[in-house]
């Protein structure tokens, strides 16, 4: 298999030093601008557009300068000097830091309730030494949570809120290493390799980079693919020549053992990622990109074994779930319905949230369209055909899993290293003239802005304050054991401790997203759920009401009758009453002290 060769250098000798200096100056300006903007951004300015709405002109300027720096570096800085990769790496670190590091530094509490729940699973394993799927079916895949317990628990109780904060930024940087290793197998031209990493950073808006098993599995998966193509490389004889393809099989034992260990860890960590890895490895084997031949069977056996044993709690008795037939209200969803959920359904918002939705779909479609164009143009080159296949195969997930609403996003994420490479191959064909560089810098800057809006656009859904987090920590500290807690909110961190001890329910307003509780029927349905759960404590936050009003067009103030019902008809007692969080106690035997909550807000 031939890799894309180094392309002809079109620069003039006099341009060499100047480009390096320009790139360095742009990077210095971007860094300075970002540091200044840390002191000027007010996170209270955040609106439905997301964290990007708090960005100041200086922040946007620093993003534009960093984009300009990577464009100038990729296209014009000489490859034979020492500066090319130094500038590329600095530019990538700056881009990732501006996009993911700004929220990391400025938010008073790390975001995303799912990450807190994962901390809860880790704490549960650390505290009990158990992995009971009866507590939560996700503990059927306990590998990542167990890893967290081991790594964080050797010196005492896990303290992982800091890890939630830094994880997206650290992941955004670390994942570039295996991605580089993969594309270096297919692409020799260093400028195209560097451009691939830039496109990957810009395209990584999927928000699978938080403290989660899927982030761990993704890193392991990409490292595994990098090992396959680099440690057992094939010469490109595909299965279309079956005898020669089979004759060229080989696989060093140490490589096979290492790959099997990696895959076993992925299987134990996450339910979906092993299928993706299987698909990617299958493409590499069938196209002769690797000399491995029966390895896909080995990993499929490992996946099937764990699904049959460890994952039985997840699918037992529901064969349709195992076969990936996504169901809603007892009805199977077809492919068109899943695409509608992923694409058109996500566009049905109003106001600024519509901008976020359009940004997400638009950014993804731009990358996919450019990748498709690149694949069509280069269809006669074997390596481009393989990259195209690798970019396409994750989307088969649409038809093979029960993920429904998230399938397209995850497919896009696993395809991203390969779509990025295809886009980079196309874009680096642009001649590095000054006007083209300026325009390209603006385009990359605009796409970077779209990434910020797309990745951090769910403020009403995800963001919490340090006060809210402190109150939730206090609540878990002071409530008597074995209480039933119900949470009314979309962003509040719950279940980050005491999983398996307290019964915790989450009022899922999303199930009312189609009809909306604008009429008495839905309101009554919510009341019925409350009665069924019969909570001892309720946590009430306003962002759920705001989110459903903005996104699903619930009538403003729809939540007040529910709050009134909790307080009046169920005789709840407000033990904490703040605009951003209310705690209602129904347990007559529990009387928390006046100082129970460190942040009572008066």
């Amino acid at each position: 298999m031939t890799a894309i060769v180094e392309r002809e250098d079109l620069r003039l000798p006099s341009d060499v030093g100047r480009s390096t200096k320009i790139a360095g100056a742009l990077l210095a300006g971007a860094l300075l601008g970002w540091i200044i903007s840390l002191f000027t951004i007010d996170i209270n300015d955040v609106n439905s557009l997301g964290f990007a709405s708090a960005f100041t002109p200086v922040t946007w300027a620093s993003l534009l300068l960093a984009s300009g720096a990577v464009v100038v570096t990729v296209f014009r800085v000489p490859l034979d000097g020492p500066w090319f990769w130094r500038l590329v790496i600095t530019g990538l670190v700056l881009l990732v830091t501006i996009i993911h590091g700004t929220p990391m530094v400025l938010e008073s509490a790390p975001r995303f309730f799912e990450a807190y729940q994962h901390v809860g699973f880790i704490e549960y394993i650390s505290r009990t030494g158990q992995h009971s799927a009866a507590v939560n079916y996700r503990l059927s895949w306990f590998g990542a949570f167990g890893l967290g317990a081991t790594l964080s628990g050797t010196a005492g109780s896990p303290e992982l809120f800091g890890a939630i904060r830094v994880f997206p930024w650290a992941f955004g940087l670390l994942i570039l290493l295996p991605v580089y290793s993969i594309v270096s197998k297919f692409i020799v031209d260093q400028r195209t390799r560097a451009a691939t990493l830039v496109v990957f950073v810009i395209g990584n808006w999927i928000a699978q980079d938080y403290l989660s098993p899927q982030a761990l599995a993704y890193f392991l998966a990409m490292t595994m693919v990098a090992l396959v193509v680099n440690l057992a490389p094939g010469e490109g004889t595909s299965i279309r020549s079956p005898k020669r393809w089979w004759a060229l099989r080989s696989g060093p034992r140490v490589v096979l053992v290492t790959l099997t260990a990696f895959y076993s860890a992925i299987v134990l960590a996450h339910q979906l990622s092993p299928i993706m890895v299987f698909a990617l490895v299958l493409v590499l084997v069938l196209t002769g990109t690797t000399t491995l031949r029966v390895f896909p069977l080995v990993i499929f056996a490992a996946f099937a074994t764990w699904l049959s044993v460890g994952g039985y709690y997840f699918w037992g008795g529901e064969l349709a779930r195992l076969l990936g037939i996504h169901q809603e209200s007892g009805q199977s969803l077809g492919l068109s319905a899943i695409i509608a959920q992923n694409l058109t359904g996500r566009l049905q918002h109003g106001g600024l949230e519509q901008v976020v939705a359009v940004s997400r779909v638009g950014l993804s479609l731009i990358i996919l369209a450019l990748a498709a164009t690149s694949a069509i143009r280069g269809r006669k080159e074997g390596n481009i055909r393989v990259l195209a296949l690798l970019a396409f195969i994750p989307f088969l997930l649409l038809g093979t899993t029960g993920y429904g609403g998230e399938a397209l996003l995850r497919g896009f994420f696993f395809a991203l290293p390969f779509t990025s490479a295809l886009v980079a191959i196309l874009v680096t064909k642009i001649k590095p003239r000054m006007l083209a560089m300026v325009l390209l810098s603006i385009v990359v800057g605009c796409l970077g802005a779209c990434t910020e809006i797309s990745r951090y656009g769910n403020e009403k859904f995800e963001q919490i304050s340090a006060d809210q987090l402190a109150i939730m920590q206090d609540l878990y500290r002071v409530v008597p054991p074995d209480l039933t807690i119900i949470g009314f909110g979309t962003a509040m961190p719950v279940n980050f401790t005491k999983i398996g001890a307290d019964a915790h329910y989450f009022m899922n307003f999303f199930k009312f997203s189609t009809a909306g509780p604008s009429g008495p029927q839905a309101e009554q349905e919510i009341k019925n759920q409350i009665d069924t759960i019969s909570p001892d404590v309720a946590v009430w936050t306003p962002e759920a009401a705001a989110f459903t009003t903005h996104t699903f067009h619930f009538t403003a103030g729809w939540d007040q009758p529910i709050l009134k019902y909790l307080l009046k008809e169920r005789h709840g007692h407000l033990i904490l009453n703040r605009p951003d969080i209310k705690i209602i106690n129904f347990d007559k035997s529990w009387h928390p002290s006046a100082g129970a909550f460190s942040t009572n807000g008066g």
Binding site: I125, S126, G129, Q130, H131, F142, G143, A144, G146, L147, A149, T150, L151, S152, G153, T154, A155, G156, S157, P158, E159, G162, L174, L177, P178, Y180, S181, S184, L216, F219, L220, M222, T223, M224, A226, L227, N230, L231, P252, R253, V254, V255, T258, A261, F262, S264, A265, L268, A269
Partner: protein, 130 residues
């Protein structure tokens, strides 16, 4: 590259002549990291810092195992190999202990560390015999 003084045969699959020195260096690095982790554990520093050092040490030591056993790679593959190797090793050991219902964080960390050092020692000895 430094040739092994014991390397009288043609290198076999996956083994390169530099292996002895390299394996010894990796083993020394692993032992050094373990000592560092133990020292920090007994220093009067915050628990979070102890946990952070222990986590990095544990991942790095166990990640050295595939690096020692596989042929030398470029840095862009070696770093993810160390991290992914360390994470995988800890996932596997932790999962095993959870399955056999004998899990505690200390036990998992100890077992992973001992296994990693044992595999590094075996690799060094095997390289020395070639």
């Amino acid at each position: 590259m430094v040739a092994s003084p014991y390397n009288n045969e043609a290198p076999s699959e996956g083994i390169v002549p530099e292996t002895t020195d390299r394996a010894q260096r990796l083993l020394a690095l692993g032992l050094g990291l373990v000592v560092l982790g133990i020292v920090v554990h007994f220093l009067p520093v915050p628990t979070n810092l102890k946990s952070l050092v222990a986590a990095i040490t544990l991942v790095w030591v166990s990640g050295l195992v595939p690096v020692a056993w596989l042929p030398r790679q470029r840095i862009d593959l070696t770093i993810p190999l160390v991290i992914a190797g360390g994470l995988s090793a800890n996932v596997l050991v932790t999962s095993f202990l959870l399955i056999v219902n004998w899990y505690s964080p200390d036990r998992a960390a100890l077992l992973t560390g001992v296994l990693a050092l044992a595999l590094l020692v075996v690799r060094t000895r095997r390289a020395g015999h070639r």
